[in-house]
């Protein structure tokens, strides 16, 4: 392994990307229960809105946030000549993603505790 910030961002990007593809198809199937009518939809949603899924959604937020802000970083690299700042940009993308994850995570946990 040739380790570097670029390598870490690459691995994380691919890993979150593949995870999100799998999630996307699950998501489409779950929400697809709406085609069987309101009752079927509500029954399915009851399952996936349980506490366990809520906790897993924090991981989902982390994956989405990282993948999105790493993507923004890449778009900036593509369209502007900023290669000299490659390391700081990686840390920036990571920090912004962590920030959004933290906010989402706190809100989810709050809602969970509040409802329990």
């Amino acid at each position: 392994m040739y380790k570097s910030t670029g390598f870490i961002s690459f691995v994380l990007r691919r890993f979150t990307g593949v995870a999100l593809v799998l999630y996307l198809f699950m998501h489409i199937l779950v929400i697809g229960s709406a085609t069987q009518g309101a009752a079927a939809f509500d029954a399915t949603l009851k399952v996936v809105q349980g506490p366990l899924f809520k906790i897993m959604e924090i991981a989902l937020i982390a994956a989405v946030a990282y993948h999105a802000f790493d993507g923004v970083r890449l778009l900036i690299v593509h369209y502007f000549n900023v290669i000299d700042y490659r390391k700081s940009m990686f840390y920036a993308a990571f920090a912004v993603a962590a920030f959004f994850t933290a906010i989402g995570g706190v809100l989810i946990l709050q809602a969970l505790l509040y409802h329990a």
């Binding site: 593949v18 489409i28 709406a34 509500d42 949603l45 778009l75 593509h78």
Partner: protein
């Protein structure tokens, strides 16, 4: 190459659509059911258009992404035509099923 361009375009589109999606569908207390979706969150037909566009771009981004991840591996790249075919089929199937789902959110008459 076209795949690269598709990825960048859908990526930029997703930044917008995912932002909208999160703002509209996912906020505390993170509980929705059929009624809230239809009445509170997707009442205007313009939402159907936005959601179908979102579905289109998210499928494009996911499938091109998966294709690139897989074909970057030398041994898998031998089957790139099969993979491209599978991606197109999955994309069309997902789009049809997803559109049907979006259309299913109709207020009960």
């Amino acid at each position: 190459m076209r795949i690269f361009q598709m990825q960048r375009i859908s990526a930029i589109a997703l930044l917008v659509f995912l932002g909208i999606h999160m703002a509209v569908m996912h906020y505390p207390p993170w509980e929705i059911d059929f009624r809230t979706v239809v009445i509170e969150r997707l009442s205007s037909p313009i939402w159907k258009v936005i959601d179908i566009a979102f579905l289109f771009f998210v499928l494009m981004h996911a499938l091109t992404g998966a294709y690139v991840v897989l074909t970057d591996i030398q041994r898998v790249n031998t089957y790139k035509r099969v993979l491209a075919g599978a991606a197109i089929v999955l994309g069309i199937a997902g789009f049809i099923y997803g559109t049907a789902t979006i259309m299913a959110f109709q207020p009960p008459v």
